[in-house]
Amino acid sequence: MPFKTPEPDSSRGQASIGKAVKINGQIYSKEDLYVDGDVEGTIELQEHRLTIGPNGKVHSSVKAREVVVLGNIQGNVDASDKLEIRKDARLVGDIKTARIIIEDGAYFKGSIDIVKPEPAKSGGSASSQPRPPQQATPVAASNTQGAAAVAAEMKR
């Protein structure tokens, strides 16, 4: 199913950097951000969504709750909730996220760490077992029908 292409939307509290804008430095935002221009530096949105538009070129590390890439990122990405790399997007860098969606045709080079979000703290004492620092997030696998193939084994 094709994804809907996100567009800048200032009506719902989203800042926007247009395609003719170039920024050198650090960006902090307390609302969603749409970047369609060039950014060199760092981008940090904490609890918000960052969208790199199709013309966007980001040479920086990126930290946000959710990151959607349609353009180009060269730098590490830390998306606490979800990262989407759309068709024709290009991401070169290391990824740390809870969930990742990558479309066919996207280019990615780097490492992927799936980090499960910290569970909400409760007053009970049920969680006595220590948890590993990183755990994979269960994601449904492909449903393509399988079929057996016959293999002949030759040992050296």
């Binding site: 066919d104 490492s111 590993p132 990183q134 269960p138 492909s142 393509t144 079929a147 193939a149 002949a152």
Partner: protein
Amino acid sequence: MLRRPGATLPPGPAIIVPGNHSSATTLFNKELVTSRASRGLEQFFAFLRDQVGLSVLDLAGASQQNINFITNLGHRLYSEDFVRTLDDVFGEADPGDQANQGRIDQFLRQTLNFENEQFDGVLVWDVLQYMTPALLAATLDRLRTIVRPHAYLLAYFHADEKAQQVPFYSFRIKDSQNLILAQRGTRKPAQIFNNRSLEKLFQKFESVKFFLTKEQLREVIVRR
């Protein structure tokens, strides 16, 4: 955008393609998709299955299925689109240039430059057969340095020694025993290997094991 050469297949919904394929084959989103069992894959993941936090290198570029499968096992995945970089550095037309030492160094810097990382497994897939001898030797030497001792490499080679063009696949992991092969077209191999030449190719590694399949595809699992 993919720059790989290959025949364009018409768009449309999934269609069962009749023919002599030994497993389910469909045409989906311009790709000829085949699902098949893989003994090599089974052995590869038998080594990784009972551990977590390992590092796996996938040389076929990023795909949703491979990311899901490997990260669900609790491992860290490194993704590298080997063939795309091969074409970027050497061009698609002239494999003769793959003997140029400067370009070989450039290619290795772009693809296997992991000074502080060692891998517990490498999904090589079918990329080695598109390399001429000088580049292939340099690539295998580099792979040996970035793979931990006793770790495994999983590689595929087309077995038809007379083939001028071979199917060019995107390899996607369905589960620990089954693969989905999405054919993106055809490509001219730089070398064709038989069992003897494969043994010679991997002679610096601890062991090599072959699985011959119906689809003229030779699965090779190599232990560092």
